[in-house]
Symmetry: C2
Subunit: 331 residues, 2 copies
């Protein structure tokens, strides 16, 4: 394992479960030298609560309290609230564990007291012992909307209630006309690299990139931007990424992911079983690093994080030697 | 046991735990021929929820799901939400069980959908199998405020956070200038009697009577109004009734209770151990019925309910024979 240099600060972009796993590996290596910018396009209001599914997943995962069996929510969760709500005939389509509910109640209560989502995220992170800094992409509402067959569908309606069961024609990030990039981003130390975690490119990373100024900020950092493909062997590890890529006529492969990030990513980490795609990806002007990317254990997370950091370090040297060489589409 | 006549409809007034026990006994005997008008002066907003403590206690008790050990809340309750909220540093002074929380979430959600408190109370009652009708005293906000040493204290702040630990100078029912008596009250069948359950006269029954038109409605029914003393042997069975009576310079006894309801109650049910007070109470022009009133079991609740109904029936005969005789202060 190659330890990161003591002065390195790293910025990661992440959505939900897959992204959170790599962020956890990075956090293990970097501690407070990691800032994770998290998607809030999935956020919604439910039963009067402000729910931030991706922020919660990242916070719980980095806090070591995520429910690993379930893949979401908190460990040691109980379900008295949902059981009783169903008995009373209340809306039971979105599962809220008793302990998880405390997160939403805390957040919503702090909003009433005037706190921002950034404030609340810092408080929840501190309470759960998260060493790294977690930042919502924006303190302003941005909402992912799925357009399908002429209908506009709110994200959780699509994701949970419809279980992604309708074809996606187009994805809209409502609110991006006025949303501002999280102001805390301007106060971060200069990073050594940006890691785009293996989250859904369309549903988790694109909302972050859709916030005005986000792409310009990332490109302007002048450091390697490395993406980890969430597509392995032509399928998504979790979630609807592969289905959506198919519906949007993108190749369902690490090549499709690389093409999606063309113009932004300097390098891509793909899984060993996708090694055959390396040459074609490199032809896009994106450097390729091939390692096992499926994270089944904490050690897997740390290993992948370490591989990403080493790859980014190598790209830094290449960038310095040939500052424009890695980004042909910028020429 | 004297069964009530099949056509009798009975109206009960109730607050929290003690009142709910007698209401449960009445409900056992009367089923859908009982309407319980419930105090909402204790209602408050907490963590974004509309909480109606007395309505919930009555609903849970009549639904057979009240937590008998704890004296409030639901049976089989769990506490994941509160534990996690405390861990996160959220407001933990008001204990909300995981299942109980579903009631508040359901109610608050229905409010957002445009339902009234009366609608929601009917829905919750139906879901929990309550045979009798439960009505909030008003669909408009009425809030009990404690005045103590120049301070105005919201009811739950006084009752829970301060554990009734400050002296009461005066009790205000904010909102009664504009609150309307529950309109559903005007649609009830003519009752055979009104039973004022053994709830705190100052904190649970007075708010109901403070709603404009409430006293006039009750008196205008022209049927016996029977109150059950919550003070037994000079002490309250539960709660701060005795403390408050002392602070307000009222005699802490069934006599003090009778005097409090003078002008409204035609009869009072007092506990056997207070038999010595019967003559003095009768001198106030209030008929007295002496029975064991402490309810430790379901059978106790039904026995007391039966005794109240029999007593009221006797008062009806007296009222008919001498319509003005029972209410000297109205002369």
């Amino acid at each position: 394992m190659i330890s990161p240099a003591a002065e390195d600060h790293i910025i990661a972009l992440a959505g939900g479960v897959g992204g959170a796993k790599l962020a956890d590996g990075l956090s293990h290596l970097l501690g407070d030298r990691l800032t994770v910018v998290v998607n809030t396009g999935d956020d919604f209001e439910h039963l009067g609560f402000h729910i931030s599914p991706d922020l919660d997943t990242v916070t719980y995962t980095l806090g070591g309290v995520a429910n690993s069996q379930q893949g979401w929510g908190l460990e040691g969760e109980t379900w008295g609230f949902m059981e009783q709500l169903a008995r009373l005939g209340g809306p039971a389509w979105f599962k809220l564990g008793d302990r998880d509910l405390a997160t939403h109640a805390y957040r919503t209560n702090r909003f009433r007291e005037g706190a921002t989502l950034t404030d609340v995220t810092a408080e929840l992170s501190a309470a759960l012992g998260v060493a790294s800094r977690l930042l919502p992409m924006s303190d302003d509402p941005v909402r992912t909307v799925i357009h399908s067959g002429g209908r506009s569908i709110a994200f959780q309606e699509y994701f949970v209630r419809l279980a992604c069961g309708v074809p996606v024609d187009r994805i809209e990030f409502a609110g991006t006309a006025t949303a501002r990039l999280n102001p805390a981003i301007g106060t971060l130390p200069d990073p050594a690299a940006v890691i785009i975690c293996p989250s859904n490119p369309y549903l988790s990373i694109d909302p972050i990139l859709a916030v005005p100024g986000a792409r310009g900020w990332l490109k302007g950092l002048g450091v390697p931007i490395v993406v980890v493909s969430p597509i392995v062997g032509g399928a998504a590890i979790k979630g609807p990424a592969a289905k959506i890529m198919q519906e949007l006529d993108a190749p369902v492969s690490a090549l499709g992911v690389a093409a999606h990030y063309r113009g932004l990513a300097d390098g891509i980490v793909i899984d060993s079983r996708d090694e055959a795609l390396a040459e074609e990806i490199a032809a896009l002007g994106i450097a390729v690093h091939v390692v096992p990317t499926v994270m089944r254990s904490k050690a897997d997370r740390v290993d992948l994080a370490d591989g990403c950091l080493a790859f980014a370090r190598g790209l830094t040297r290449t960038l310095r030697a040939n500052p424009l060489g890695l980004r042909p589409n910028r020429l």
